[in-house]
Symmetry: C2
Subunit: 293 residues, 2 copies
């Protein structure tokens, strides 16, 4: 029996659910609207936004991408966000990272109206998540990992969870989600990072190991407790002379050697990746539902 | 040599620093102002607010207490907070817990202007703390524990920290403070709680053990690694036939048996308790400094 967690299939379940919510909103005369803002011509950003637009269209979400030149000032970007905040046809606003260096990312995220912050990056939503207030938006990647775990039947209550990495996008909100009291959480969470003394020791005692530190194939077989659930959030580009592009993508987990040890494991690609878009569009449906109330 | 962390002495250092900041603000024509709101006649709240008022006066902070009858509606309380938010003479607003049952505490905390939220309970400040944004207010009790640790020379970088309890007032923000990258933090933090399988096992591996779950004398000697730093945040009233009142206060740590094992330990009372007021008044000075900029 395969021990793979099929992120594509679970993402598809969520897309189907979101599609139904969108249809039901449309029956009430509400078309969920999602704006993407892209600054400059980063090729990866173009691809990501393109994928998100395509999936939005499939589910019946109206989306548009506002492309700004890379020389756009922070003030002009904030002004555009202010306009979109005030425009009721847009329920969600997503500012695609990375931004040019002269623009402060935190300032930008904090300028999106919390009720339209479908990325879950606004400090108000970060605070609500930490406080256990279900009213806020959950960041898409850790929210997606949570859905993967729950829908794969992983028992989180009482589980020893080790989160590798303490980034604001994945590690910290992941810990916030899992340490809450209640069903599908209530885990004992340790956040392990570059300052941790015995990283391998912590990993080895984890029932659920979530790797999100951005180090290629960091998690080896001898760092995983037999039967543990291993989730690989990493997306790292490494040199590969045999590839046409000269590089290939690898995760934070040395998949080939870890898979035989793990109880369940996400492939990469095909694990966490597809969940991020699924959660984004679910958040957008929710934003429209809240606005339409 | 004593292994006691003297919370009273460290709180006094902070009060002295705050007093200097207040004097400097007054030289610029700014008198820091702090409003306490008390709803109903809870005797403990009267005592707490009285202590805070007295210490404010000693440091030159102008304070006033608005006492509302216990039948006050949530709407009326929110309206009063709204007025105080808009009144520039008040730099800090503190709503004393507990509130009557018909008033939702989270709604009230979220109504205080974040720039006047010297308690650090507003979700925006909770989010900033989690994100590592030093611009927000840190809740007084975990902020006070952090100061105790730093000023006692405890090496937090790389330390294994176990926080017992995941409350919104102490446990969660304590974890947020210590897991950040950077000096006087960078600890490996595990949050242990009622859903944790092996509480004692986690406690025994802690270099720094912070007890904040509200269970009388929960932490016993055999749960503490020899030489560990033990911080007792608990305040529990237990029956005591020999006491005049019939009760006495105890912490979350069985002090008498743990002290010989610990490297450093807070007495209780006289440990964390005095720090909470010290941090509140330091936050108030900061609020006035920010407003005066």
């Amino acid at each position: 029996m395969s021990n793979l967690i099929d992120g594509r299939a679970i993402a598809q379940q969520i897309h189907t659910e979101t599609g139904r919510r969108v249809a039901s909103l449309k029956d009430r005369g509400i078309t969920p609207g999602l704006v993407f803002i892209r600054v400059g011509e980063d090729p990866a950003s173009q691809v990501y936004v393109g994928m998100k637009e395509k999936k939005s269209a499939e589910l019946g979400i109206r989306s548009v991408t506002r492309v700004l030149p890379s020389a756009t000032s922070e003030a002009d970007l904030l002004a555009l966000i202010g306009q979109l905040n005030a425009d009721p046809q847009w329920h969600g606003i997503l500012v695609q990272a990375p931004l040019p260096r002269h623009i402060d990312q935190s300032t930008v995220y904090a300028h999106v109206a919390p009720s339209k912050d479908v990325d879950g990056f606004h400090p108000l939503n970060v605070g609500k998540l930490m406080l256990g207030d279900a009213d806020g938006f959950i960041p898409c990647t850790p929210g997606g990992v949570h859905e993967l775990l729950v829908r794969s039947g992983v028992k989180l209550e009482g589980a020893e969870v080790v989160v590798l990495g303490r980034g604001n996008i994945v590690g910290k909100p992941m810990a916030s989600i899992l340490l809450q009291k209640g069903k599908n959480a209530n885990s004992t969470v340790t956040v392990v990072h570059s300052g941790t003394r015995d990283v391998a020791g912590h990993c080895r005692r984890a029932d659920v190991l979530i790797a999100a530190m951005g180090v290629p194939e960091f998690v080896k077989a001898d760092m995983v407790k037999p039967g543990a659930v291993v989730i690989d959030v990493g997306v790292n580009r490494v040199p590969d002379a045999s590839a046409k592009s000269g590089t290939r993508l690898v995760g934070d987990v040395a998949f080939a050697e870890v898979q035989p040890v793990a109880g369940l494991i996400t492939p990469n690609p095909g694990g966490v990746g597809p969940m991020t878009i699924a959660m984004l569009l679910a958040n957008t449906a929710r934003a429209a539902e809240s606005a339409g109330r």
